[in-house]
Amino acid sequence: MNAALIAIALFTVGTAVAALSRRNLLHSVLLLAGSWTGVAAFFLWAGAEFAAFAQVLIYVGAISMVVLFAVLLTRRSRDDLAPEPAARGRAFYAILTGTAVAAVLLVTVGRTAFPPGPALPPVLTVGQIGDQLMGPQAAALLVVGVLLTVAILGAVVLAARDGPAEPGDRR
């Protein structure tokens, strides 16, 4: 079953790398949607159905939509994708840092001895999740609801164009 895991991991990481290295924003967003789907696949593999569907529904269904929207709202023309100066240096340092972090994390993971987990994925029905959410986690649920509301309002306020159209907004 690790084969499936490795396949998922390769797919996810591959799409992620491609997404972040593409110069074309649209492509990166779509690729990233793929990588998110990969994460959802991992959730499925681990037996967390609900989380997987929520992941797809929210990331692929909502977040990528919003990102695409933002992309279309903020692109001047299709050819301002030219690399800005000093991109190379930054990219190099970024990759360096990323590798360092990855190395440290991997070493840590490799060094730690984890107790063997259960062979079969644990069963967690939607009902149980609902009970958890409405029972012990009710407070957190409320807080998250409030947070979402506030975030939506804040986003609207931020993104709403203030006053008459400015020269920048030609669409």
């Binding site: 930054r90 340092y93 970024a94 840092t97 990323g98 360092a100 972090v101 440290v104 994390l105 070493v107 840590t108 060094r111």
Partner: protein
Amino acid sequence: MPPLLEHLWVIPALPLVAAALAAVTPRRGRRFAAGAAIAAMLGALAVSGWALCLALADPAAHRVANFTWFALGEGAVRLGWLLDPLTALMAVMVSLVSLLIFVFSLGYMAEDGNFTRFFCFLSLFAAAMLGVIVANSLLLLFICWELVGVASYLLIGFWFHRPAAAAAAKKAFLVTRIGDLGLLLGLVWLYDATGSLLLYDGGHGVLEAGVLAGLATPGVAGGLAASTAIGLLIFCGAAGKSGQFPLHVWLPDAMEGPTPVSALIHAATMVAAGVFLIARIYPLMAADQALAGVPFHALTVVAGIGAITALLGAMIASAQHDLKRILAYSTISQLGYMMLALGVGSWVAAIFHLLTHAFFKALLFLGAGSVIHAAHHEQDIRRLGGLRGPLRTTFATFAVGMMALSGVPFFFSGFWSKEAIVRAASEWSVSSLPLCAALAGVALTAFYMTRLMCEVFGGAARSPDAAHARESPPSMTGPLIGLAAGAIALGFLGTPAWPWLQSRLTGTRIAPRSLLEGGGLMALSILLVAAGLAAGWALYGRRPRTTAAAPDPLAAAAPRLYAFLGARMKFDELYAATVGRLHAFAARLADFLDSRVWDASVRMLARLGERTGAANSAADSAGLNAGFDAGSARIRGVGRAYSRAQTGEAHGYLRVLAVGFVVLALLALLGGGR
């Protein structure tokens, strides 16, 4: 258990609702606001009357209704209502007096623009006070206690446009806050020691024998019992609220508030809250009585403070000019009496005196208010006078109050309650000083009250305002009459011959005593009263002053003492000299450190950097060889490298985070490796 008990909260809730209503009424809704407040007080009075009947049915019982406010971890904060004769009597007294005073305010505040706000505050205060009374949890009591403080602050500063009033409000708030700090500490300690703040909780309350036994073991600080320390801390709060000796300075200034406020808060109810508190937790205060070998008992301190306050207030009162200040100081001294009674172990006498005092002092204040109202807000007794004629009702009722306060025998409540206190003091084994103080206070009280009467009502009018005085409207005289009736009748509830009140309060049958046994003491105090009256009449009544400027006879007799007393024993100056000076010194010290030490060091460093930079540039500009250039260039480069960290650029910060994480993790790994 009757349903009333669970719903005892109704008593404070009614005025609270009235306050809320008044708060939202527009300024012109005067009648509505006042009506709501008065109706609420009527309701509260009715309910407390019912509660009284219930409580008197079984005086010995402490009926409680506790409930959990909220759960905190495994512990839970619990509040509750308590119904026993003490509660019920206080509730009835407070709501009755408040009702009368509300009615009085109708007339007194009639011209005020902020009428609705005034009633809002009054109702708020009444609610808080009733809350203090019905609370069965020291926590709830503390909350209401602070609310009372806030309400009193608002009401003292009601005419905030007067700087004096604003200052007085601030002073009252701060001084009582000192005491409340002690109270809070006491409560925290108590909670820490017993794990509960409920007074009665079926054996687990802090006032019940099981818990008290645990508290009353010596060996805390200086061999004191925990109960002693806690009791004294709580007493700090009580002393602050009821203006006991070290903390009494705020009460006279509080007279800047409207007179009904002075009558309600600073004579009848709030200042009595301290006494009530001590009486309420009396078992705790008295827990250490049995202990031997402790340096002193809590009640001893209470008695001492009470005695000092009683004497001191009476002395200062006899050298004041402001009508309301005199009454304020007499209030202080009367409160001292109550504390003294508590201290010498007869809390019943204290409560008895509290009730009677509430009536006659409220009566006196309202009378003073009526006088002031009539005399166009003239408060200086030297500029009043000759009001006996125009203000008949006021004069008669005021006289009743005066005689009750100065303990004129047999027909006035003050006499009996004061007798009870004096008797209790005489039966105290520890020391006889309180008794002497009490007796001296009796004489002084009679003296200054006589002085007041003669100055205000006797002689001829000494100012145009006094000359044109008119009798106040019935809405003001009505309450006066009611209070006067109370001031006379209430005394007969507690005569030694028929100790109804005492036996109800303690819940134990107290055998009536004939007036003759221990009659010597009574005779002595009667003599003292007579002496005081006579002295007052001799000094002020026989030859009443003719002009406002004429010197005070007492001043003529003993100028320096008079000046000292007139300056209120220089307490404010003393505090200003000690506490204020200290505070100012601390401020100056901080300022010094700030401006000299730190600033200087910073400047020094700056100059150092400046110097080095100058040297650097000098060496550079000298430009003897490229080495300097290179060196400085490198320096500059380093500087730039550092300053690059300051770009407001998100990437930089993120990178720093990541790198920092890597470094830390590496350290951890290498550390964990071996």
